[in-house]
Each structure stands twice: as C-alpha cells, then as structure tokens.
C-alpha cells in the first residue's frame, strides 16, 4: 500500500473501493440505494464518521493495548455515529426519516471498523484522515452511482428530493423522466443486487482493459528493439 496521499486516495476511490473491491458494508449498500439522494446522504454520513474515527483511532493507537482495542474502537465509533444521527435528525429531518435506522447502523458498518483495524492503527494521523476521506468518498460515489441507476430505472427520476439534503439551491438536480412509470423491481432488493453485480462486472472489465493496455505499452518497445 502506497503511503503517499495520492496513493491513499487512489486506493480508496478505486483499487480498494469499499463497495466495488472489498464488498464491505453490503447492508447499507443494498438497503438505502433506492435513490441517488439516499445514497449520497448515507455516503456523506459514513464519510464523516470514517474520517473522525480514523483520526481518533490513529491518535490513540500507541495508548490502547491490542487486547482491548476493539471495544475501545467500537465505543469511539458509536459515539461518533450517535452525534451524526442526532445532527441529521435535527438538520436534515426529511432525509433522516428515510435513512432512519441505517444511520444508527453505521456503528456496525464493517467498513469503518475495517479501516480502523487495517489502516488507522498502523499509520499517522494525517495519513489516516486522508484514508478516511478517500474510503468515504469511494463509498459515497459507489452508493450514489447504484442509487442513481436504481432510481432511474425504478422510478424514472434522478436525485429526487435532493433539495432536502443539499438545500433548495440544488433543486436543479432533480430530474423526472416524463412518461416513464418505472420498473418496480429495481427499487426492490433484487434490483439492488442486479445493479451491483453489473457494476462489479463493469469494473472488472475496465481493470482488465487497463492492464492489457499497460502490458501492451510496456511490450511495444521490446518488439521494436527486437
């Protein structure tokens, strides 16, 4: 794993993407991605928790003995999630009503404990913060993308109720496709699994194409010299 910040960002956004590479946090991924707005809100909430929890875990990494680290991390994460939960209830109440339970469940989101264990306990505070940001944005991007595709196919809208999350200034994002009622199945769980499956397949295809191109690029000079 590269320790340069750009490397960490790339890992989080693409190579080690929480949803598309690690296949972690499947529960919120399937449950809340019925619309782009829900996915974006869930992703941003998770990102906030992830950044702060990574910073805190990284700060106390020399103080906490490895025997008690898991309970300590869980208490930290639970505190942060409670804060996010209450803040969303206060300021983004409409979105909170939709995401409700899943905000509280960020506590047991394996991506957060996973990053604490896999990265924050081994790295400095700044690197951990960048890792939290990268992983969180990767997660947000994945959730928003799945949410948008399911929303588009399932209810014929894009970013419905985005102004609830981002403020009235973003009402222009809301798109409604006229004359299309939507395929209900895409909003239901099977639609989530199907969309995730096709996106995973797409990512694998892209990666193999990139790899092929890289191999061709390194291979051509040899061919010319020979």
């Amino acid at each position: 794993m590269s320790n340069s910040f750009a490397g960490i960002m790339k890992e989080g956004l693409w190579n080690q993407n929480v949803v598309f590479a690690q296949l972690l946090a499947m529960c919120p991924t399937m449950a809340v991605t019925t619309s782009g707005t829900n996915g974006l809100g869930m992703g941003l909430a998770t990102t906030a928790v992830l950044i702060v929890s990574n910073i805190l875990v990284s700060t106390i990494r020399h103080t906490v003995s490895s025997q008690v680290r898991i309970p300590v991390f869980v208490v930290l994460i639970a505190t942060l999630v409670t804060l996010v939960d209450m803040a969303m209830n206060a300021w983004l109440h409409d979105l909170y009503k939709v995401l409700g339970l899943f905000i509280a469940l960020i506590v047991v989101n394996c991506a957060i404990l996973g990053r604490a264990e896999a990265f924050a306990v081994k790295n400095g505070v700044l690197a951990s913060a960048v890792d939290g940001l990268a992983m969180g944005l990767g997660f947000t991007g994945a959730l928003t993308m799945i949410g948008l595709i399911r929303e588009f196919l399932g209810s014929g809208t894009l970013f419905a109720q985005a102004s609830n999350l981002l403020g009235p200034a973003f009402a222009f994002l809301e798109v409604k496709i006229p004359g299309y009622g939507g395929a209900l199945l895409m909003i239901l769980p099977p639609g989530g699994f199907a969309v995730l499956g096709f996106l995973l397949a797409g990512k694998r295809v892209m990666e193999s194409r990139i790899e092929e191109r890289a191999r061709a690029a390194t291979g051509t000079p040899d061919a010319i010299t020979a």
Partner: protein, 374 residues
C-alpha cells in the same frame, strides 16, 4: 459391452493406439433435437391461441422470440464466444422466448416482449454462464421480474376473440395497438378466473356467489377464456405434454407430481369449505398449471436429476402454487413456485442421490456374501 468392443476394434484396425474417450456410443440426440420436439409440442396450443387472441398475440410471440435471440447473440458476442451461430441454432433461446411469450398476457405491449427477452437471456441465463448453467428457469425469471415491475400491463387480460374481421382487430390496428401500447378498450378487458375470484373474495363475496354470477369468467377445457396467451388451451397443452412423455423427452415424475401437488390440497380445501376454496378442476385448468407442469417445471437444467428428487420438486411446486393462489397476494403463483423450487434443486440433488453400483444408498460398499469357490 458391444460399444467397448467396436471402439477397441476400431482402434486396432488402424494399427495405431488411438485413444478414444468415452462415451463410445451416441444416441443421436442433441440439444437442438430435444428443443425442436418441445417446440413441436407447443405448436398446437400456440396456433390455437393465435386464433383466440388475434394478431396482437402473434406480434408478441414473434417479438419475444426475436428479442431472446438478439440478446443471446449480443451476450455471446460480449463474452467473446466463437460459437455464436451454433449456440443460437441450438434453439434454447428460441424456446425460452416461446415459453415466456406463452406466459405473458396476449395483448401485452411491445416493450414487455423486448424487456422480457433481456431479463430472461441476460440476467436469467447468460450471467450464470449460458446454457446448462442457469440456476433458475430463464423464462420464469423474466415473467416474475416483469410481473413485479409492471403489475398493470402484466395483469390485463382480454376476452378471447376469434380472429375474425368482425370481432377481432385487423392486422394494421393490431400492430398499432401493439406498438403504441395504448390502454385496452374497456369492452375487451376481462379477468382471469383466479384473479376474479381473488378480487371477489377480498370484497367479501364468497365463491358460491361469485362463480355463479353472470359476469364470472368462463372456465373451459377448450380454452375459450381469458388468461395468459398460451395457457388457455388446456387440452392442447395436455396433448403436447403427453407427446413429450411419449417421446421420452420428459419423464412422468415432474408433471404428475406438480399436478398432484396442486390438486390434492385443492380437493381437500374445496371439500371442507367450498365457499372459500376453488375446486381442484378449477385449479388445474386455470393459469399456468398445465403449461408449468409439462413445459416449465420439466426444464432439464433447473430440475433435480433423480426420479424421486423430481417427485419432491414437483410436489413442492404444486403445493406452493396452491398456497400462493389461495393465500398470497398474487392470483397466480406458478412462476414463483417454480423459481422457489429451482433454488431448492441443488439441495434436493444433494439429499436424494442415485445409488452407485456396488454401494448402498449411503455410499458404503455392499457386503458381499461369501461364495463357495467352485
């Protein structure tokens, strides 16, 4: 024995040690031959349905099959297969499209056919690895996905009209109806028996009254009743199924246990409370019971391998169909039941295995009684 002899003789005649892998004898059967016979068995019921429901049903049938073939070719191409033409000609995609079309409402609009082909072939079949690899019956995957996604167009039945210039729409009108997906004229909309009784029961009218009233949908062996495109002609489907049985394409285990699984609980329920449970005859003649039993549940890929496994599988489908029809939210449950039992097929095959020669059912070697040396 004789086959082993011929192959060794063949190897010996050329004085070379050519190794020929088994099997050494071929029955001459092939995927395409089997698929062809199944299609032959479907022809009478399909033709009858064309006559019954007119040109729109023909367009639906043709476009569903075309869509399945196109998506099959497209996915094979995307996967880099070199046997596109051969795979298309084996007829499996064609049969999937045919069965899907038969299970759709006869006047469904064009996009139902196209989407159905996409779901059946890409999600139902090719994603799993193509022919022989799919866990679920592709046609039923598409049927259920369409029903769940678009409840309204998928539950609009038309009253059966003979294909005559007076009663039925002509070619051009039908094509327009099919392509614009305009709402059906009210006079042509009708309910299937299962849907009708379910609605009436939910309104508090029991079966004794609802089925005797003048507006009750007809129930006939001949198939002059509303319902899915290919499911009405009970006798012709039964005939097709018996032809498949006679040609040895399917065994009796699955279809008869499906029918028994529907009929037995239906008969018991009807005996106990005729006001709330439909009779066994109604259950067998309505919806996809016969088509499902003979043509859908018997799919080689998604049903168990052993005879007794197929009986368990069939009884499960029948019972689930009856349960969904009687207590579920949807009036018809054959497609759901088939998919649920498809999911159980690997378990059934794991639990019910054929006995290996020389071993008992648990796989232990048979105890050989001591024989006297001669």
């Amino acid at each position: 024995m004789s086959t082993a002899g011929t192959s060794s003789a063949r190897a010996g005649s050329g004085l070379t040690a050519a190794v020929i892998a088994s099997p050494h004898a071929h029955g001459g059967n092939s995927v395409s031959a089997t698929m062809f016979r199944v299609k032959m068995a479907l022809v009478p019921a399909t033709l009858f349905s064309f006559w019954l429901f007119g040109w729109p049903s023909f367009f639906l049938w043709a476009l569903t099959i075309l869509s399945c073939l196109c998506f099959e070719a497209l996915s094979l191409r995307l996967m880099g297969s070199r046997r596109i033409k051969a795979t298309l000609l084996d007829g499996s995609a064609l049969l999937t499209g045919w069965l899907l079309a038969l299970s759709l409402p006869p006047w469904a609009p064009w996009w139902v056919a196209v989407l159905g082909g996409l779901i059946a072939i890409v999600i139902g079949k090719q994603v799993f690895g193509g022919i022989g690899q799919n866990v679920f019956n592709p046609a039923m995957v598409a049927r259920v996905a369409l029903l769940v996604s678009f409840p309204l167009p998928l539950t609009q039945w038309v009253t059966p009209l003979p294909l005559s210039p007076v009663a039925g729409p002509d070619f051009v009108h039908s094509l327009r109806q099919f392509l614009t997906s305009a709402p059906l004229p009210d006079a042509m909309v009708s309910a299937s028996v299962l849907g009708y009784t379910k609605t009436e029961l939910s309104r508090g009218i029991d079966l004794l009254h609802s089925l005797s009233s003048a507006s009750a949908p007809a129930l006939s062996w001949l198939g002059e009743r509303s319902g899915s495109f290919g499911e009405s002609a009970s006798l012709l489907i039964l005939g097709g199924g018996l032809y498949l049985l006679a040609r040895g394409i399917i065994s009796w285990h699955t279809p008869f246990s499906v029918l028994a699984g529907v009929a037995i609980p239906a008969a018991i329920g009807h005996q106990l409370d005729p006001a709330h449970y439909l009779s066994a005859t109604t259950h067998l003649l309505s919806g996809a019971a016969l088509l499902g039993a003979f043509f859908i549940a018997t799919d080689y890929v998604t049903s168990p391998n052993t005879g007794s496994g197929q009986i368990v599988f069939g009884l499960g489908i029948g019972l689930l169909t009856w349960v969904i029809r009687t207590y579920g939210g949807y009036p018809e449950g054959m497609a759901f039941a088939v998919l649920l039992m498809n999911a159980l097929t690997p378990v059934i095959d794991r639990l019910i295995k054929p006995r290996i020669l020389g071993r008992d059912r648990k796989g232990k070697p048979l105890s050989i009684p001591e024989t006297k040396e001669s």
